[in-house]
């Protein structure tokens, strides 16, 4: 058993993170109504990424894990980034 897993997170932290998630959801809804064109999608993805990061770091305890486990997760994130990037990098020059 990894010692780091024993780390307990205070109740206050959980509430604060939950509050942040609610606020970010509200921002997502607001942004979707702003009609920002192609930047709308970018904004939604960025906000969703921040929310996912908060869940991973605090609710799933990634913040308190060993660097090696963080590296593993980073590999998967990079893979998705590369896959999405290579699929859409030519979006400006498509017929």
């Amino acid at each position: 058993m990894n010692k780091n897993n024993d780390h307990t997170i205070g109740f206050k932290t959980y509430i604060a993170i939950w509050f942040c998630l609610v606020v970010l959801t509200a921002i997502t809804v607001t942004v979707s109504g702003l009609n920002m064109g192609r930047y709308g999608a970018l904004a939604s993805v960025l906000i969703a990424s921040v929310k996912a990061a908060l869940v991973l770091l605090f609710f799933m305890h990634l913040k308190y894990e060993r660097p090696f486990l963080k590296l593993m997760l980073l590999v998967t994130i990079c893979t998705i980034a590369v896959i999405i990037g290579l699929t859409f990098f030519d979006i400006g020059v498509r017929y």
């Binding site: 590999v75 896959i83 290579l86 699929t87």
Partner: protein
């Protein structure tokens, strides 16, 4: 030598067949996979022979056109998803990985058994899909939209079966990566690990990171068929090209799931029968990882004629040329390992040398496909069919056969008949080339793949190809006859009949339940001969 203590005689709380299908012993699970996979392989071969028989003459020969569409689809689905993707890792990898790294079992034995059950469930669902609903799918194994959405055949159920197989493959990859990280024997540093585990490690990462993409893609296809969501339908704002992207994001890395373990097998067999260390150990390790990495970035080369932008085509073509570099490194290293060795041309090496020859042809014709100009000429023709059979059958399956012969004494504790193995090899090699080489010429001349009928000028080569399929089938029959009959009647094998130096040869044949009497300790590099 330890006798009477093999895992076949293990005491288990279950008896009979239950002691197999509920076993968490990696060796039993490996054999379960091998049995199931080769049963499906047999069905796939029969379907392949039927395809060739239909094509022996233009027009209708033995089946209708819709039946032909179903037969080549099911041949592809079985061979890809039920045989060659689980293939070497799930069968031989399961059996040998813990033995080669000096572990008692894989990291998650129960998860391992669950993977097998997912595999069997997926296979059952695919089989059910053939006989229910609108009948067997007729889309080709790639399930391309829009046809796969419109066809009335039982695509939904077949795709769900493949989805289950994907879960099996992902869990196996996860299990192997964890096993290699956590359970290596004392003293076995990363660079003291044999090359087959290294290949399984690279493969495991591809399985973990790529297979979920296939699972999601297939779910989207099911949603599209059942609920009409419109991801791939331009009328609803979707894009059929998106399906091709998503499908090949998995299915090209899947090519490396198929070939990397085969390369690992070759790297194991060559040092043993050349009686010398492998040439360029580190470069072989590096090239496995490089293939796994770059293999992610090349999927677009399946779509050069699908209407991608020119920019995408150039980038994907360039990346595809790059992936040929680590493959070339491996070929040169294997040949260099043979050079100056005391070569003992036993049957495992014979199959291995055939691998190098056939895979090289498959690889180099891959470059013809990846060059943008020539791709337009050969895309969707028999050239492609020949190319992927040279890589997948001439490559992976020949290495698989080599591995079966090489580790047969370890797995079953018996020896097969060497001369019969060589005879089978001759039929396999001759039949393979007679069957598939004419397809390169046919494809170059413009014969499209998956066509039921053809022009008279293609007749001669089609006949030669069909005759090749009979020679190949004869070879397969002899090989399996030899191996299966030797399980029951073969001479008893010593614990190390080939004089190998990796850890699996340091335990009895077949190994005991716990693999080793004493946990092994590793003190040096893996291939030290003399």
């Amino acid at each position: 030598m330890i006798t009477g203590n093999s895992f076949y005689n293990a005491q288990d709380k279950h008896k009979g067949i239950l002691s197999w299908i509920l076993s968490t012993d990696h060796k039993r699970i490996g054999l379960l996979y091998l049995t199931a996979m080769f049963s499906f392989f047999f069905v796939g071969v029969i379907l392949g022979l039927l395809i060739r028989l239909e094509l022996i003459a233009p027009g209708r020969t033995i089946m209708s056109a819709p039946a032909y569409n179903a037969v080549f689809t099911v041949h592809g689905v079985i061979m890809i998803f039920l045989f060659i993707i689980p293939g070497i890792p799930a069968g031989l990898g399961n059996f040998l990985l813990p033995l080669q790294i000096g572990a008692r079992d894989v990291a998650f034995p129960r998860l391992n058994l669950m993977s097998w059950w997912f595999y069997v469930s997926g296979a059952a669902v695919i089989l059910i899909s053939l006989f229910t609903g609108g009948g067997p799918p007729d889309t080709g194994w790639t399930f391309y939209v829009p046809y796969s959405i419109r066809t009335g055949t039982n695509v939904t159920l077949a795709v769900f079966g493949v989805f289950l197989l994907g879960i099996s493959s992902t869990l196996t990859g996860l299990n192997f990566v964890t096993t290699i990280h956590r359970l290596r024997a004392s003293g076995m540093t990363w660079l003291r690990m044999p090359l087959f585990p290294w290949a399984l490690y690279a493969t495991g990462w591809v399985q973990i990171l790529a297979t979920p993409v296939l699972a999601l893609t297939l779910l989207l296809l099911i949603f599209e068929r059942v609920f009409g969501l419109g991801f791939f339908d331009p009328a609803k704002g979707g894009d059929p090209l998106l399906f091709e992207h998503l499908f090949w994001i998995y299915s090209h890395p899947a090519v490396y799931i198929m070939i990397l373990p085969a390369m690992g097998v070759v790297s194991e067999i060559i040092p043993v029968f050349a009686r010398r260390t492998i040439f360029g150990y580190r470069l072989i390790v590096f090239s496995s990882l490089a293939i796994a990495f770059v293999g992610y970035l090349v999927w677009g080369h399946h779509m050069f004629t699908s209407g991608m932008s020119d920019l995408s085509k150039v980038v994907f073509s360039f990346l595809t040329f790059i992936v040929a570099v680590p493959s070339g490194i491996k070929i040169f290293n294997w040949v260099s390992s043979l050079y100056g060795g005391s070569i003992d041309m036993k049957s495992p090496l014979l199959y291995t040398v055939a691998f190098i020859f056939l895979f090289s042809i498959g690889g180099i014709t891959g470059l013809v496909n990846s060059a943008l100009a020539t791709n337009i000429q050969v895309h969707g023709t028999y050239f492609i069919v020949a190319h992927f059979h040279y890589t997948m059958f001439g490559g992976t399956a020949f290495a698989f056969f080599a591995a079966l012969h090489f580790w047969f004494p370890k797995i079953f504790g018996k020896m097969f008949r060497e001369r019969l193995a060589n005879t089978a090899w001759f039929f396999l090699f001759a039949g393979f080339n007679t069957l598939y080489f004419p397809m390169f010429i046919l494809g170059w001349q413009g014969m499209p793949r998956r066509y039921y009928d053809y022009l008279p000028q293609f007749h001669t080569l089609q006949v030669i190809s069909t005759i090749g399929s009979w020679i190949l089938a004869t070879g397969l029959f002899i090989m399996f006859y030899n191996l299966i009959s030797s399980i029951f009647r073969g001479e008893k094998a010593l614990s190390n009949p080939w004089g190998g130096v990796t850890l699996e040869w340091k335990t009895s044949s077949p190994p005991p339940v716990e693999n080793f009497e004493e946990p092994p300790v590793v003190t040096g590099a893996p291939y030290r001969f003399r």
